[in-house]
């Protein structure tokens, strides 16, 4: 029998050595934007274990199709057509349904549709660069897009971002909120990237690199990459720390 009662257990603590530290001088902007005091560790209260949820009915038909969602009728975005798909799991390995994912990325030439991006590469009139999806009952999601190009950025004298897609992920509790980036298997720019290297453990960086998934490739149409996302797990609610008798 399926347990339909929402879980209310406290979330597992974040492994702060696994995540990037706040202060990572190789990524220069972090220098002035990193708190210097220790974080104050606190247990979860109801403010943390609750969070907003979003219904599938808010999605438009093309929300997860970046090839078409900004294109003029009959047109499509320029670039290597790809599908990105995977599951959202929690740290216990449980597939999470109803999770809202938002994506954004540069176009195939490495240019963002944003007033602050003045890279030489041209905008694609048929590519906006945003999309979103909500996971199904098994935690699965997919999107179709064009592979984003690498781009240069002002940090060191010659830094280039590897091809990447930004992901924003909601869980069930507000403290599961996560923003991360997906990289592509085999990209030689990953080990050179100061932002990827803000993560100190090479094992952790690997979790952000999506492998090519030939099994899910659509012949003569689009290659597939598989990208699973893991959010904080939570304790069983059976023996939560509360006064006896409550």
């Amino acid at each position: 029998m399926k347990n339909t009662q929402p879980e209310t257990g406290a979330f597992f603590p974040r492994d702060r050595d696994w995540h990037p530290k706040a202060y990572t001088p190789g990524y220069k902007t972090s220098v002035l934007r990193s708190p210097r005091n220790a974080l104050l560790s606190l247990g979860n209260t109801i403010s943390e274990i609750t969070g907003p949820v979003f219904g599938h009915d808010m999605l438009g038909e093309r929300d997860n199709d970046l090839v078409l969602n900004f294109a003029k009728p009959g047109a499509s975005a320029i670039g290597e057509r790809i599908i990105v798909h995977g599951r959202v799991l929690d740290e216990r390995g449980i597939g999470m349904s109803g999770v809202l994912l938002e994506f954004w990325q540069a176009n195939a030439g490495g240019r963002y549709r944003h007033k602050k991006d003045n890279y030489l590469a041209p905008l694609d009139p048929n590519f906006g660069g945003c999309g979103r999806a909500i996971t199904d009952e098994n935690g699965a999601y997919s999107l179709r897009t064009v592979k984003p190009g690498p781009y240069p950025w002002p940090n060191g004298p010659n830094d280039w971002r590897p091809s990447h897609i930004h992901f924003s992920v909601f869980g069930y509790g507000f403290v599961q909120r996560l923003i991360t980036q997906m990289y592509f298997e085999g990209d030689p720019l990953i080990p050179l990237c100061p932002i990827a290297n803000a993560i100190s453990d090479p094992e952790a960086i690997k979790r952000l690199v999506a492998p090519l998934d030939m099994a899910n490739t659509i012949p003569f149409d689009a290659r597939a990459y598989k990208f699973d996302i893991v959010l904080r797990g939570r304790r069983s609610t059976m023996f939560e720390n509360r006064p006896e008798g409550n």
Binding site: Y27, S47, K116, G128
Partner: protein
């Protein structure tokens, strides 16, 4: 030999970067027509119960400069202290209040602004009441992992003095960094990433 503790590891965070607006507040980035509206822009409507308030402020870096490329999200209870969330098992929250908001800091001044209502008090796990508060999550270029903090209300002195979290804060000279100054229905809450007034951030 023992069984392995086969938990997965949380996906590591990466910065939201300078173009977070494209994905999260696309209308603000000038990308129109992909979605019908901007998620989190409206928390209230004309039927929402409670006292209407405005929360505004800046996110300030270690040189004293407000960030003009940050994004903030807030999460709070309704006027009766109930959350609009499936994990809220104590009752049903006001259907005309989302409890969740999302706003960018302005590209010129760095000011953010939320129109919401004052939250009711919610319980602490030991059964005592917390002071009214709003959870904040702040992301931006140069922030490697979203920063978590809370805003409390400057005009709730009694509730604040009883709050189990404010009372637990070891460095009580820093508690003031969590308390928004009130003027009429407007609360000003500046978030300092570094420096003398560095905001208390939580690992929660």
């Amino acid at each position: 030999m023992v069984q392995s503790l086969d938990f997965l590891k949380e996906s590591p965070s990466q910065t939201a970067g300078p173009y977070v607006h494209i994905g999260c507040v696309p209308e603000f980035a000038g990308i129109k027509g992909v979605y019908p509206d901007q998620l989190g822009a409206a928390m209230v409507n004309d039927k929402t119960r409670g006292e209407s308030i405005v929360i505004t402020g800046r996110v300030i870096d270690g040189s004293g400069t407000p960030l003009t490329d940050a994004m903030l999200e807030i999460w709070q209870a309704d006027a009766d202290g109930l959350f609009n969330s499936p994990a809220e098992l104590r009752g049903t929250a006001d259907p005309n209040f989302t409890g969740w908001g999302r706003q960018p800091t302005a590209g010129d001044t760095g000011v953010y602004l939320f129109e919401t209502i004052k939250p009711g008090r919610v319980p602490f796990p030991d059964g005592s009441l917390q002071a009214p508060h709003i959870s904040f999550w702040i992301v931006a270029r140069g922030i490697n992992i979203g920063l978590q903090t809370r805003m409390y209300f400057g005009d709730e002195k009694k509730a604040n003095s009883e709050d189990p979290i404010l009372n637990r804060i070891e460095l009580n000279t820093r508690v003031k960094t969590l308390i928004a100054a009130s003027k009429g229905n407007t609360y000003t809450f500046d978030i300092h990433l570094q420096g003398e007034n560095e905001t208390i951030f939580f690992d929660i």
